[in-house]
Amino acid sequence: MNRFISRLRTVGALVVYFTRRERMFLAPLLLVLLLASLLLLLTGGLGYVAPFVYSLF
């Protein structure tokens, strides 16, 4: 339960940050990425993501 509340707090902080920065137009992309990441997590697909020469992300 604490973990869930902690994650909610992070989502809230993210929304506040994007709102303040007037970046809510990124919300649809973020949503798509979140859903895609959920899909990848469920299918174990993250293991196939290649390493990068420098951690840009």
């Binding site: 990124l26 993250l46 290649a50």
Partner: protein
């Protein structure tokens, strides 16, 4: 009066640092505990070790500060993906994996890992943390502060004015224009591992001539005000490429060097060409840093410069900054890379809670103490016949004067990538054969890589020009070896006549100071070769188990763990 933990993680070199009542109590990299070189995982073991050193629990912490803002990072990633769509399509899976898999939730992960309330964990700014690590641990009341690395949230380069307990932002250059990424891409082009091979490129540069200036003018445009731009078509930050450079760069500079091929700078023309490319990269990087430093001086009017960020680990460039940028003094944080951001974060948190800035850092021994009793029992269990001695420094000197290679583990391990006498391999500095033995048998690394000398600060000027300085205490610069001394310092003099000098005092590294005094009495030259106590691809030794593992695995002649002496019994080894 506050206890603040700083954390850096998830990119490279994760670390934790603890500041209590305005005093830097401990700072450690996770790699020393996980034994994974440059480990980027959440540094929970390092954080717990910091708390152990201070005798505190997670509940005693007033704040935990993460060294960057994950939301700002996500914003940059998303806008970058959008701006470069559809070319960036291939990067979507990676962005998902890295950002949404773990990095977005880093503050939650820290709270859960450390065992502190989530409300106490807050983010900071990547480059402000670098600037804080550099300025607030420096001896300066006022200074220009320059941070240069690959990329933080968005900035890659920042200029600050530091005054008392305040940092004021004066300017920044944003991603994708980055000296760190330029150096990283060329490091990969030259066949080295990024975030690890940059030192090798710097060492290799001394073997070449900067004859590719025209080509590099296409890669990097420098302006008079210190700002710069990368020639983006030569890089591959907007596609799914696994290297940081594009095919266009290979058309410009020639095919990349295959990873892992042995170097032959004497007879292989292509390797000499790669050395020339390294030399040009180094020269161009120095020019860019010099222009930035001059701009920082113009904007602040300060007499001192503080540097941090991964690019500040370029010791050759730092030497040029001290000589040519117009500052009277230059200081570089010993852990200038991402690890140092943890200490900067802790200091910023501490100052925000009303504590004074820390006093100047005089020693990098901020890790955990070596457990001599544990080493003793482990050595006995392994049948290594350890002996307790009364004067470890004098004993180390005796072995060194016999031409032996001696491993030492004394006190708390070092903060940052340099071994400064707490976890070091020592040898006499005169014989190039010692360098060969160290390079080929123990360190197993490229033959062109130099070793560093350690010398008492008050006698450094006898053998090295431009020493001592604020940079030499933490081995963050190179100094010309005086021509008259080069014959006696053959194992620590690089091909260009320079050496990455460490100046030692009784307070910075007391054991090494004692060794130098004893060696000076025996050889009339109080200088030793000092290199890190680790094997190839390994983090530097931290605990007693790592030390004993090193002694068993590598052919050093003797090891001193506190007052415990282990001597290699070659006769017995050959019989068995």
């Amino acid at each position: 009066m506050a206890a603040v933990l700083g954390i850096s993680a998830y990119y490279h070199d994760a670390a934790a640092a603890l500041v209590v009542d305005g005093r830097v109590v401990a700072a450690m990299q996770e790699e020393r505990f996980s034994r994974i070189k440059n480990d980027a995982a959440l540094p929970i073991r390092a954080a717990r070790a910091c708390l152990r050193v201070a005798g505190l629990g997670a509940g005693d912490l007033d704040a935990i500060v993460y060294y960057e803002n994950p939301f700002a990072k996500l914003e940059r990633v998303l806008t970058w993906l959008l701006r470069n769509f559809p070319r960036s399509y291939g990067q979507f899976p990676r962005a998902i994996a890295e950002q949404l898999g773990s990095k977005l939730w880093v503050l939650d992960g820290i709270a859960e890992g450390v065992g502190a309330p989530r409300a106490k964990v807050r983010p900071s700014d990547h480059h402000e943390c670098h600037a804080a690590s550099a300025f607030f641990t420096s001896p300066f009341e006022k200074a220009a502060v320059l941070t240069v690395d690959g990329v933080g949230e968005c900035a890659t380069t920042t200029i600050w004015k530091g005054e008392g307990s305040a940092l004021t932002a004066l300017g920044h250059i944003d991603f994708p224009h980055s000296l760190g990424l330029l150096y990283g891409a060329l490091t990969a082009y030259l066949g080295f591992e990024v975030n690890e091979g940059e030192y090798k490129v710097m060492g290799l540069a001394a073997f070449g001539a900067p004859r590719f200036r025209d080509e590099f003018a296409k890669l990097l445009t420098l302006r008079d005000d210190g700002s710069f731009e990368l020639g983006l078509p030569y890089f591959a930050y907007d596609t799914g490429s696994n290297v940081g450079f594009s095919a266009k760069m290979e058309r410009l500079l020639g095919p990349r060097r295959p990873v892992g091929r042995a170097w032959d700078l004497d007879s292989d023309a292509s390797d000499r060409r790669f050395a020339d490319i390294a030399a040009t990269l180094q020269a161009v990087t120095e020019d860019a840093l010099l222009a930035l430093a001059r701009e920082a001086r113009r904007r602040t009017g300060a007499e001192a410069l503080c540097l941090a960020g991964g690019v500040a680990l370029n010791a050759v460039a730092n030497a040029r900054l001290l000589r040519e940028a117009g500052f009277a003094r230059v200081s570089v944080h010993p852990a200038a890379g991402d690890a140092g951001g943890a200490l900067g974060a802790a200091i910023l948190g501490s100052i925000a809670l009303g504590d004074p800035r820390p006093s100047a850092l005089t020693s990098a021994a901020l890790g955990e103490e070596i457990d001599v009793a544990a080493a003793d029992s482990l050595a006995r269990a392994l049948g290594l016949d350890p002996v307790r001695i009364s004067d470890p420094a004098a004993t180390a000197a005796e072995h060194l004067l016999r031409g032996e290679i001696v491993a030492v583990c004394q006190g708390r391990f070092e903060w940052g990538p340099r071994a400064l006498g707490q976890r070091s391999l020592l040898a006499l500095p005169g014989d190039p054969k010692v360098r060969e033995r160290l390079n080929r048998v123990i360190k197993r690394r490229e033959p062109f890589r130099p070793f560093a000398p350690a010398v008492p600060a008050d006698r450094a000027a006898e053998w090295f020009e431009e020493a001592p300085s604020d940079l030499t205490a933490f081995m963050t610069t190179v100094c010309p070896v005086r021509p008259s001394a080069r014959a006696r310092l053959g194992a620590v003099t690089h091909v260009d006549g320079s050496a990455r000098v460490q100046t030692v005092t009784g307070s910075s590294a007391p054991f090494l100071d004692g060794v130098l005094a004893a060696v000076g009495k025996g050889a009339d030259l109080p200088v030793v070769l000092n290199t890190s106590l680790n094997g190839p691809g390994e983090p530097i030794v931290a605990a007693a188990t790592d030390a004993l593992g090193f002694f068993v695995g590598y052919p050093v002649d003797a090891m001193l763990v506190g007052d415990l002496l282990l001597v290699r019994d070659r006769k017995r080894e050959s019989e068995s």
